[in-house]
């Protein structure tokens, strides 16, 4: 049996909308999850993506035992999270990127001591684990500084340490890289990879940062309108949309662009051209030859479509 098994999970919320110029409110039911099924094996690192409001966080909250679904079933390691909450949460760690679990007024170290007692981690084991984590996440500099004085990046690293102190089998990360600078992001990714490889921690990652997914996850699930739209390898997902490439060129002396074959589109900016084309239809060397026929090139670079553009196109085509 897979480690996480989710079968036709459903959850809806009632929203109250205020009518304009009136005190009356209309009720509206939103199906956050209408029929979601998937399974995850132990040790997998899965990216869970979808536009805002797709139901990602709802899934995470159900799987971490906070919410009770309206229908369907879910088990994690054979336990039903919302019915066996206490036993279940002992084995999981959660990071909600926009909230904080550490105490605001005290240093992370003090919060870690409290977490040690809450999860009943033996002293020796706790010390060892804290040592590992504080080294991997570079916490030494600020572990004794009150949380309120830390920068966002420092805080996120401290949060992550807090979620992993009790060595959970399963880690939910809800937008862990939100608002982080490049260095912090790279460090965090490196750390997550290491944690997954070394301790076989199963990780479910929700994010809007496609680089996170590309760097970390071999498998992605795409959620939209409360339904699972794709479940598989990121490469397979992208190959469906990865049809465009770009050439950036600049002519040494002003020159007119030659007539381009069908399916190519050119845009002009600051004296340079960007040509979008489908490499399946016209080969790159052929296109370059064609462009050179109009004049000498002073600059030439090739570029692939950014992953964000692809995802945006995918969401568009799926009517999300």
């Amino acid at each position: 049996m897979p480690y996480i098994q989710v079968t036709s999970l459903q959850k809806s919320f009632t929203l109250r909308k205020k009518r304009p110029h009136s005190f009356r409110r209309d009720k509206e039911t939103v199906h956050a999850l209408s029929d979601v099924s998937f399974s995850i094996d132990k040790g997998e690192l899965v990216g869970y993506i979808g536009p805002n409001g797709a139901g990602k966080s709802t899934t995470v909250k159900i799987l971490s035992g906070i919410l009770t679904p309206d229908g369907g079933s879910a088990t994690v390691n054979g336990r039903i999270p919302w019915l066996e909450r206490k036993e279940h949460v002992r084995h999981i760690g959660v990071v909600f990127g926009q909230r904080t679990q550490l105490w605001w007024d005290v240093a992370p170290m003090d919060s870690y001591k409290l977490l040690r007692d809450i999860y009943r981690v033996p002293e020796e084991q706790w010390k060892k684990r804290l040592g590992e984590l504080s080294e991997a996440l570079a916490l030494e500099d600020f572990i004794r500084t009150p949380l309120r004085q830390l920068s966002l990046g420092q805080r996120m690293r401290a949060e992550l340490c807090g979620s992993l102190l009790h060595s959970p089998e399963l880690l939910f990360l809800d937008e862990p890289t939100i608002g982080l600078d490049a260095v912090s992001k790279l460090k965090l990714r490196e750390f997550l990879k290491e944690e997954n490889a070394r301790n076989k921690t199963t990780i479910l990652l929700t994010t809007h940062d496609m680089d996170d997914i590309q760097e970390l996850c071999s498998r992605v699930c795409v959620l939209g309108h409360g339904k699972l739209l794709f479940d598989g390898h990121l490469r397979d997902l992208l190959s469906r949309y990865d049809t465009l490439q770009f050439l950036n060129i600049r002519y040494a002396s002003p020159a007119l662009l030659p007539a381009l074959p069908e399916g190519c589109a050119a845009t002009h900016r600051d004296g340079a051209w960007q040509i979008a084309y489908d490499p399946q239809k016209i080969q790159t060397p052929t296109l370059i030859q064609l462009l050179q026929s109009a004049g000498t090139l002073s600059e030439l670079s090739a570029e692939k479509q950014s992953i964000d553009h692809m995802i945006a196109r995918m969401y568009e085509e799926m009517h999300l």
């Binding site: 949460v89 909600f96 007024d105 005290v106 003090d110 409290l114 007692d117 809450i118």
Partner: protein, 283 residues
């Protein structure tokens, strides 16, 4: 419900009981660290409370001069000091915990292998106990050093002191139960201002903060004495000043036990219901 009862009645060995209580004890330590970090706030609190105490005593001295009351002045002064020094224990709700509900930080608390009711109860208790102890001790010292009409009197006797401390502890358990009921309301309505002001209004009136309950008309007192509010501070203080006989003190503890159990049961039931309908909004 049956299930709940069985869970409570399961026998525990002393060792496993200690292990189970450790997380809750740790919450106290955390509170202690936080309180000692904000020493300025504590000092400010003490100054405010001492000022209020002196003002009230000046007021009562004038009142007694124009119209002598049945209760001796020294007793009323003692009442005022004990009220002021334990003021922080009374406040029914605390904004920090309410914020965790409003901002959804509570989602994290639900991911802990603890009973949410117990965890929040402990947090409320730690805040009230640690916060008020740190303020009460220096304040009472000041009050003992003040000259005759202004200072606090010693407890009426040894058993009164013991009984007073016991009753004060029962009052603490009772006020924490109230705090959790207010939290349960907040979880439902997401806004704590209504319930907080309603609770605080009832609280300052019926626990003797506005006017010592001993100064209310006798007929009113018979009723007010039975309300849960009177159990928090008023009852313990009356034991301290020697107004209650030994039997009356025992009776008071009985009323306190009743209210504490009733309020905890109600709060626990409300939390249990809430948990099933919990919604964590956004992000």
């Amino acid at each position: 419900m049956m299930n709940l009862c069985i869970r409570f009645l399961r026998p525990l060995s002393p060792h496993s009981l200690l292990r189970r209580l450790k997380p809750y004890f740790s919450v106290f330590m955390m509170r202690f660290r936080i309180e000692t970090q904000y020493r300025g706030a504590a000092l400010g609190g003490i100054i405010t409370q001492v000022f209020f105490g002196l003002m009230l005593i000046a007021l009562y001295t004038t009142l007694y001069q124009s119209a002598p009351q049945t209760v001796p002045l020294a007793q009323t002064v003692t009442y005022v000091w004990l009220q002021q020094s334990c003021f922080r224990m009374l406040l029914s709700t605390d904004s920090e915990l309410m914020q965790t509900v409003r901002t959804g930080g509570m989602a994290y608390e639900m991911c802990r292998p603890l009973s949410p009711y117990g965890f929040y109860y402990t947090r409320a208790m730690a805040q009230k106990l640690v916060g008020s102890t740190l303020r009460a001790v220096p304040m009472l010292l000041i009050a003992f050093l003040l000259p005759a009409p202004w200072g606090i009197s010693l407890p009426a006797g040894v058993w009164q002191l013991g009984m007073f401390l016991l009753a004060l502890f029962m009052g603490l358990l009772c006020t924490c139960a109230m705090s959790n009921i207010a939290m349960a309301f907040t979880i439902r309505s997401l806004d704590n201002s209504g319930i907080t002001s309603a609770m605080n209004l009832l609280l300052v009136t019926f626990c003797g903060n506005l006017l010592p309950l001993t100064l209310f008309p006798d007929k009113w007192q018979k009723f007010i004495r039975l309300t849960p509010y009177a159990q928090l501070l008023d009852a313990p203080i009356r034991i301290y000043t020697g107004e209650y006989t030994f039997m009356q003190s025992i009776e008071t503890i009985g009323i306190q036990v009743f209210w504490t159990c009733a309020l905890i049961a109600l709060g626990y039931f409300m939390w249990h219901r809430n948990q099933k309908h919990m919604i964590v909004q956004g992000g």
